[in-house]
Subunit: 345 residues, 4 copies
């Protein structure tokens, strides 16, 4: 039984790790730390967890405690802090799966500009593996430090990587129009996120400057073997969970080539489901599951391909992916503890 | 054109006053004050008001300014503060319609215990008229100070007053199980009211000790000519607007007597609509309007009558009722500026 | 591995059985039948199930097929039809867990009047065990036919049974004011259940004549050892899942006695969680789980106790309870495949 | 007082016409017809209208009755039927404002292909004026037949027309990623639109073949003086009301030129509000109002301009625009009866 520690456990990704791991046959949360909730019973903050964590309280965050109690630690802290905490745990010889942005970038200059911070441990960054399991499974197996991908990047990169790698689409003019549920912003006391202010609303935000843009571009540039610059526009849906990204690109080849490219990359993947050309997935087909579902359609009038990619932002876009990485890292069955079916309603 | 001032204009009742008065042919908001939003353009806090208040900014709250610019001032401040501000405006000879609880009670001891406060101007309280227009229209006409009723009390008192006055039901054992949209709690930054935490939730709160209980009991005791003690349980709906109260009482008489009692009290009322016995109103039939709709059904098995009363908590339960009172106070057509039809969708 | 058949698999209870059983280590759905969806791939109707049932199609309903393929069959058909189908499967020697109302009543006269039908197999009804596991675990172990309880009855009976059995409350005047998500009405094409018509709505329905009233009264009369007549008022929440019942009763004893009664009945139960006196559960604490969470508070002013009981109507109120019964029936661990933690968000 | 008739009054656009006209000082609904609801009281289908239409019943649709009772008739029927009904009313000398697609196209070949129908009265089509008031006000004044624009076209054309007319953007590669509330699909009994199936969902639909594409392209080609081919992708939001269109185009000029173009076209418009460059409107800023609010931002990295345009699909996108056209047609104040402020919450 793998012992799991979580630092920054009070947020939604922490919650979701605890929820999913309660049903995992090979791992168990033994340590859950949160500065703001230290000493509070887990079930007081999250009554829904009461059935499985009735006796657990949040700990005061401590790299030493986390490392001594756990085989692997999930760090889910604000950027900067997460890297510092992770570095100390790594030094104590334990594995770290980091859910912040701190280790996601190969290019530290882009990271530092994007997050307006000096990276606290640039050398460690070189050893980090970008944890998009479907693309980096081999490296993940032998990693000590895994940088869990961002939620928008997961939906976007999985949609575009095969098409760029197989030269199905052109490099220029890619547009990602993404829509996310509000849990992507984290647990927060903020009028703008109150039900009254947001339940009948829809809006774009961080237009032309969202932080995930660089992460998406860097990973897709690897696929293309050339620098990609694209438009990324996130929007806020009046629901809690889920991301749907509508992607527009100019076709070089055709629908058939697109289907072949997806098959080549995701043919045996348990958590990526690609539909037949012309069929497009709905968000609810993945909510509650660790699945990324992708559909696409060519538009002969405009020469474009429209790709729709859906994930549950808290599962495949965060905590589920982190557990998937843990499973790979520890040689467990990759699907263990991860729902293959969604809630639908 | 009546000149209207609003103090505490940044909250939802302030918003709703401004929204409704934008369509009023005989009154106009000339002054809107808010301490926390002072000097902010109204349209920055509430973009939806931009079409009518493009050039207005929130003022620093001042009784003197309010009184000098306005014919009538709506005060919507926390209890205690509202009374102080109102008192000064009254002294300067202007009318006040107060949306706080400060002047709603005849019995100041109950008020002071309920709100844990010493009333700042008890003598003024004696001159205040309880602004449930349907019950106090005559007194409102000649009042200087009107205490606008609470939202739950509006739905509850309108449902029960005629039945108690006409002795259709027994005095004991009345239960009001009420459900409200979240705007009843006001505009607030609070995790518990975030969409993520509340959109799929439903809960009871303030069970057996909600502050509106005393207000309801006091006014219904007047109807009954005897002290009423009842159970009041509010719940929080996962929507913004609307109150539905399900009321249970033991019948002394029958459905026919109930229908007659309602007809006697509300026969000519433009804003109270009583359905035929056995038909029950849905919340959406009143959302967006100033209507209170009431239905009832006798249950022969238990000897009880079940009454359902619905209002839009921000309109008939607050700002619409306040404007209705203003219309009466200034001799305008009572329905002016007040929607008789709801949004339905 | 227990082989499970489902007849009437296209509805929400069928969906939920398939979703939950996809994560069950000791049982597996081998047969899912639906007349209206016969030959349709399961993943076409329910894309979210695609990850686990990629190759399954709905079968044409057949008692013979169900019995020959399965160890146990869940029947989820309209009343009357369900009993007929179940009877044939029982005759072929297989276990049946029926999710309709057909076998829930000891008193067939009440059943037949309530559902306006002649019971097709009254003798079989005598052998059925009412599947509220917490109350009938022993009988369930040796049953062939289990009548799975209704959703409202589950929330209501669990809340009241211990208090009546231990004479903590009086028999007369009990009021159950219940609120349910819309999935309780089943999967349906109906304007009234469209998002446009219902997402901002709230309403009471079937007031004083809902069919679950008799089921609740019959089971609670067993607890009380006397005939119970009570008021039951269901309401429709603008969400999909969950039931919250607010229950009012007159106290004979006190809060302490209530706490003791609950402890006596549910002390070791994995799926019933009773809070400390005065604390009341929110709906979201159970959504997505098989837990029933109960809180209560005495009101000294009125002499009443207010009890709040919450369940996920599709899980503890239907499919989860059915699987719990299956686990008991086959000697599996009672909690296998059943979530102890909820979604919270 | 202008007498208004409505044919096809049972749908959401009919509802919204009746709701808005209840507050119009210069017009009054005297005739509301619906085949499926004939003889049903209006308040039975739409209880929220009860306060203003307590005594009205839906009529059996008849061009003769409509023309004889009314000064102007709003036709809101399925395409094909609407044109036939409108043609007969026009022949009887009354004005028609048609809310179907029947008279929106100059190019009948495109219309007939798009709607798979032979136009029933092509000559009449030549006399129809496309009722986007801001662009065609003069022609509307003297029209007999007004083709009210589609909802998506209203949001899209208002966003793009000035930029194309002033050559601020390039003609190729325009992408409109639009998101609409569910009332756009009309009042319907359909599982896919039930709250259970849609409240937590989001999806693209009619990708690369939505019927409004041709309407948008035709009107924008007029602005550009050249044929425009663009990508239009609609999505379905889990709310009832509102459209937000995110538009992507390649800049020829800059943000300043964009601002100037908008000012030139909409400087004095009461119902089009253009924000300062860089600011983007939220949907809730227009819900409940007849306003179209537009924001835009240049992205130097990609050379694109991103435009966000929001409307209430039932008001500015349908019934409000129709009343705006009526006001122009009859020389009333253009803003009469049309809300300048939105609901916000």
């Amino acid at each position: 039984m793998i012992k799991v520690g979580i630092i920054g456990a009070n947020g939604y990704t922490g919650y979701e790790l605890m929820r999913l791991l309660a049903n995992h046959s090979g791992a168990k949360v033994v340590y859950a730390a949160s500065r703001s909730m230290a000493n509070t019973p887990v079930a007081e903050l999250y009554p829904a967890l009461g059935g499985a964590y009735a006796d657990m309280r949040f700990s005061v965050p401590s790299a030493e405690d986390a490392a001594s109690y756990s085989d692997v630690v999930f760090t889910a802290l604000p950027h900067g802090l997460s890297a510092e905490m992770g570095a100390r745990i790594i030094r104590m010889g334990k594995k770290v799966i980091d859910l912040s942005a701190d280790f996601r970038y190969d290019n530290l200059a882009v990271f530092e500009k994007t997050y307006d911070i000096t990276h606290p441990c640039p050398q460690l960054n070189n050893t980090a593996v970008y944890g998009l399991t479907e693309l980096n499974r081999k490296k993940i197996k032998s990693a000590s430090l895994i940088a869990n991908p961002g939620c928008y990047p997961t939906a976007s990169i999985l949609a575009l990587y095969p098409l760029l790698a197989e030269k199905v689409i052109k490099l220029d003019g890619i547009i990602i129009d993404a829509k996310s549920g509000q849990s992507g912003a984290g647990r927060k006391a903020d009028e703008a996120f109150s039900l009254c202010e947001s339940a009948l609303n829809f809006k774009a935000y961080a237009v032309a400057n969202h932080r995930h843009t660089g992460e998406i571009e860097e990973k897709l540039s690897l696929a293309a073997g050339a620098d990609i610059t694209l438009s990324f526009t996130p929007h806020l849906l009046p629901i809690s969970r889920g991301i749907l990204a509508t992607v527009y690109a100019d076709l070089s080849l055709d629908e058939k080539a697109a289907q072949a490219a997806y098959k080549k990359f995701y043919g045996g993947e348990p958590f990526v489901s690609v539909l037949t050309a012309g069929a497009l997935p709905e968000l609810k087909s993945v909510t509650g599951s660790n699945i990324c579902r992708i559909g696409f359609k060519a538009d002969k009038r405009t020469g474009k391909i429209i790709i729709v990619s859906v994930i549950d932002n808290l599962i495949k876009g965060a905590s589920g992916a982190a557990i998937q990485n843990m499973n790979v890292l520890f040689g467990l069955k990759e699907t263990e503890g991860l729902p293959l079916v969604g809630n639908q309603i």
